[in-house]
Symmetry: C2
Subunit: 369 residues, 2 copies
DNA sequence: CTGAAAGCGCTTACAG
DNA sequence: CTGAAAGCGCTTACAG
């Protein structure tokens, strides 16, 4: 037995080969799971040297990185956190790892991140900041698999995508409000150039039209899916000369923002204003009142997305792109109620200039539980 | 100008060198920011070929990966989500990327994840699942920088670590309850073999002792920092023959679980039970009642942690390890109140066998806002 | 099943 | 400042 290269730091495949008395090719094959005569000797040498293959060398040779790039708008959004958890869970042990990056809802930052990540990953899971985003297409053309998460891209029919039924969910929310007698319904929506923004408005408007109502553009506000915009737009809505009797907030973060404003202004929910959100909140069912909202299986959405990408990465001949749309369910809780009360009182049509006079905390009993 | 290798897929440094009429060394140097005579020609060639250096090749040569492994117990815990956001924000553009993995509060899974990630990253940011964890030390010895996040490791004095003042925060929470007259105070704590679990109990007990009280082990429960354990343990506490008048829940997820149980059981907060949590909830200030809790700067904790690691990765001669302890603040809101009411009624000392009779929803007025 | 050898695409002393 | 050349640690036809 020859003297072993005493690994200063890390043993290489040569060290293992020497110690096992085989060629490096044999060691490599043993690692690849192929049958090898000296399997036991190799195993022993690997063990003794605590050898681990150098990932960079392997990647350089094979072109595979063992990494998946995950780009989401904001990891502190509980929906995306849950999705990432699902993504991770769907990865078989020891196959891939997740390279995580945020776009902050900015198409520019997203482009930077994608550029930086390309070449470091085998594929992408991406929730694009903008439906006009050309990056996914470019990646696809360059042979990098991209699965779209929760958001599509125009002309992106060649991408796999896992969506939720935004139209149906938003329509259910609006129908619910309509069935309670509401006719002046406000909306705090996300950007129209995102799939959730576009589709949630579409479903909302559909329901209004079906009820013979024209969508009231004066009650329709566009935020950026983040909390501060929900806060600010709820403020705008409260300051309207003719307040709506109900409000649909198109995602969790904006719902949170809106609820904060409403609470601060002492608006009674649902008596003074019914609120329905898209996506549940952490303690949504324990809020006072419990939040009526559109829910969905967020972790499962992550799992499905990862499964799609994993299939792409394994396939020999390209299968047609898949478009999965998950169900959305309306969860009726306590934040929505009949319109009757306020409809009685005529809205203050005359107070047109009142810009901040809208918030009068009204003391009254609140139901508990 | 010679014919260019038409990149089937990606241009290599040779393609750029050829097109620019220089050697590959020059191209490499240009990328490294060194002064190069043909800078303009190189830039142009890089541009035209859309050349991006192959990361694996570079890593193989330099030993640097441009990646940081981040291992947290659970990304859906809003604290860790916020931390990850802070971590990402602290990374200068184009320097490092984050490889994210979860340990699920399991030391075994953490060990697997670390083993799999070692060799793919330049350093680790780790919130160890167990203070006895030897892995960080092993990594450190192997020359892989590790910064500990929110949790220490015994014998880990050689690691950088960014903590929060768990002792002070928990003590403040307990002192607050004591000052309200509470003497029977329950605790739902995390595992004793984690820093937050150990220190939050320590601070809690310190306050009791200072008030001349012995810590009542019968009111002291240990969960796993996850929501279901908070749920279950709150149930156990409600079923106690002699219920406490106040409860300290040692992290956000367990607070959520406990609040769910309390709500379901119709327990009035703070009248029937005062509740103070460690770490705020998303809508903590908007819950009914608003949650009294220990708060801290979570995103900043992430930023600081990353800064520490970045310094490690740059230093030539090893600086002594740093131990940063961030302030914790008690935010007094509505979920805690004076003990008076229940103290009047003698606790039902006789109902020793009652295992599930503790939850009697009591209808009564609730304050609003 | 096995080994010798080429080569993946870079970086970096080395000599000029 | 520059180029020729070695070499980082693997994998994989190729020939046996």
């Amino acid at each position: 037995m020859k003297t072993i290269t005493e690994g200063d730091l890390l043993a290489t495949i040569h060290d293992v080969a020497n110690r096992a008395g085989v060629s490096v090719a044999t060691v490599s094959r043993w690692f690849a799971g192929q049958n090898v005569r000296a399997a036991e000797a190799v195993r022993k040498a690997v063990d003794e040297l605590a050898y681990r293959p150098n990932i960079s060398a392997r990647s350089l040779k094979t072109g595979r990185r063992g990494t998946i790039g995950v780009v989401v708008p904001d990891i502190t959004n509980p929906f995306f956190a849950a999705v990432v958890k699902g993504l991770e869970r769907a990865i078989p042990n020891g196959t891939f790892r997740i390279l995580l990056a945020s776009s902050d809802e900015s198409a520019e930052q997203e482009a930077e991140v994608l550029a930086d990540l390309t070449g470091r990953v085998d594929g992408f899971i991406l929730a694009p900041a903008d439906e006009q985003d050309r990056a996914p297409l470019a990646l696809h053309r360059a042979g990098v698999p991209v699965v779209l998460l929760d958001r599509e891209v125009t002309g992106g029919e060649l991408h796999d995508v896992v969506l939720v039924d935004n139209v149906g969910g938003a329509r259910a929310a609006a129908e619910h409000l309509l069935s309670l007698g509401h006719r002046r319904i406000g909306m705090i929506n996300g950007p129209e150039n995102t799939t959730p923004g576009r589709e949630r408005r579409a479903g909302f408007v559909q329901a209004l039209h079906a009820a013979g109502l024209a969508a009231d553009t004066g009650l329709d506000f566009t935020g950026d899916f983040r909390e501060p915009s929900g806060r600010a737009l709820a403020r705008r809505i409260l300051d309207l000369p003719e307040r709506p009797t109900a409000l649909f907030t198109a995602n969790n973060q904006m719902t949170i923002g809106a609820l904060k404003t409403l609470r601060e202004s002492g608006i009674r929910i649902p008596d003074a204003l019914s609120v329905v959100g898209f996506d549940d909140l952490t303690l949504g069912s324990r809020l006072e009142p419990p939040l009526t909202c559109v829910t969905r299986a967020d972790e499962e959405q992550g799992e499905l997305t990862m499964q799609l990408l994993l299939e792409r990465l394994q396939e020999d001949v390209p299968a047609p792109p898949q478009r999965i749309v998950l169900d959305a369910h309306l969860e009726i809780r306590g934040s929505t109620g009949p319109v009757s009360a306020q409809e009685g009182r005529a809205p203050a049509r005359t107070r047109r200039k009142s810009a901040t006079a809208a918030s009068q905390p009204v003391p009254r009993k609140a139901s508990h539980d």
